[in-house]
């Protein structure tokens, strides 16, 4: 799974080459699509908070953050995104019923293949990072 994400550009080029050379291997395409993980595969409760962008720059990345409302690292993460002026959405997972939360965490683990710790960032629905790592985030988002 990580291999696909890390070599995403390569696979896009490969498919592009197959299409332009008129020899599309659909089995390969299907395999790749099946392996690509996405936030869309997770049922997210409705208590999402949307934060508007505070700068006029074009933002190409869609940012979603899973957080704990009481967590210092999560507060730092929100402040960092605010300072950068990004538009993003977040969900404080501790503010939803515990059964829903456990289900959500299990789905995150199943889809992204990692036991999440918070803040948990998802960029463009497929790239993720577990924990507060602004240096990595900057690269992911830009």
């Amino acid at each position: 799974m990580d291999y696909i994400i890390n070599h995403f550009d390569f696979f896009v080029d490969l498919i592009d080459f197959q299409i332009t050379s008129n020899c599309v291997d659909f089995s390969l395409f299907k395999t790749i699509c099946g392996l690509i993980v996405s936030l869309d595969q997770i049922k997210i409760p409705e208590n999402i908070v949307n934060v508007e962008a505070t700068h006029d720059k074009q933002q190409y990345s869609e940012i979603f953050l899973f957080t704990i409302s009481t967590c210092m690292w999560c507060k730092k993460a929100k402040r960092w995104l605010n300072r950068q002026g990004f538009q993003y959405s977040y969900l404080d997972i501790d503010l939803i019923p515990v059964e829903d939360k456990n289900k959500l965490k299990a789905e995150i683990q199943e889809v992204f293949g990692v036991k999440p710790r918070f803040p948990f960032l998802v960029v463009n629905k497929i790239q993720w990072d577990s924990g507060y790592n602004p240096d990595i985030w900057e690269e992911m988002i830009n």
Binding site: I68, T70, C71, G131
Partner: protein, 107 residues
């Protein structure tokens, strides 16, 4: 129902814990404030001081290892200079060092 804790109650509690263990509290005012208000919110909602940076099961028994000071704090402070949420730090911890999230020791 537990009596609700004020900000000052929580600050007194964590100060007592830090002195008893030979630690100090996070010296960054904004971070300390976030941590104390997080602990306060957890106590007033759950009835115990669940670690503000860890997800609770809303069950005292299931969360007992992450009730502040958590079971992992002592070892984390020895190894990294501060605990998972950064509330408690080694007495001689260099405050000019940037804080980064440490690995989660909880199984």
């Amino acid at each position: 129902m537990n009596k609700q804790k004020s900000y000052e109650d929580v600050k007194e509690y964590v100060t007592r814990i830090s002195i008893r263990n030979g630690w100090k509290l996070n010296s960054d005012k904004e971070q300390l404030d976030d941590l104390i208000t997080g602990l306060q919110a957890n106590f007033n909602r759950l009835g115990y001081y669940n670690c503000p940076c860890r997800d609770s099961q809303e069950d005292h028994q299931l969360d007992r290892d992450i009730i502040c000071p958590c079971r992992y704090a002592e070892q984390d402070i020895k190894d990294y200079g501060y605990c998972y949420c950064t509330l408690y730090q080694q007495l001689d911890f260099d405050i000019s060092r940037p804080l980064r999230m440490i690995p989660e020791r909880r199984p």
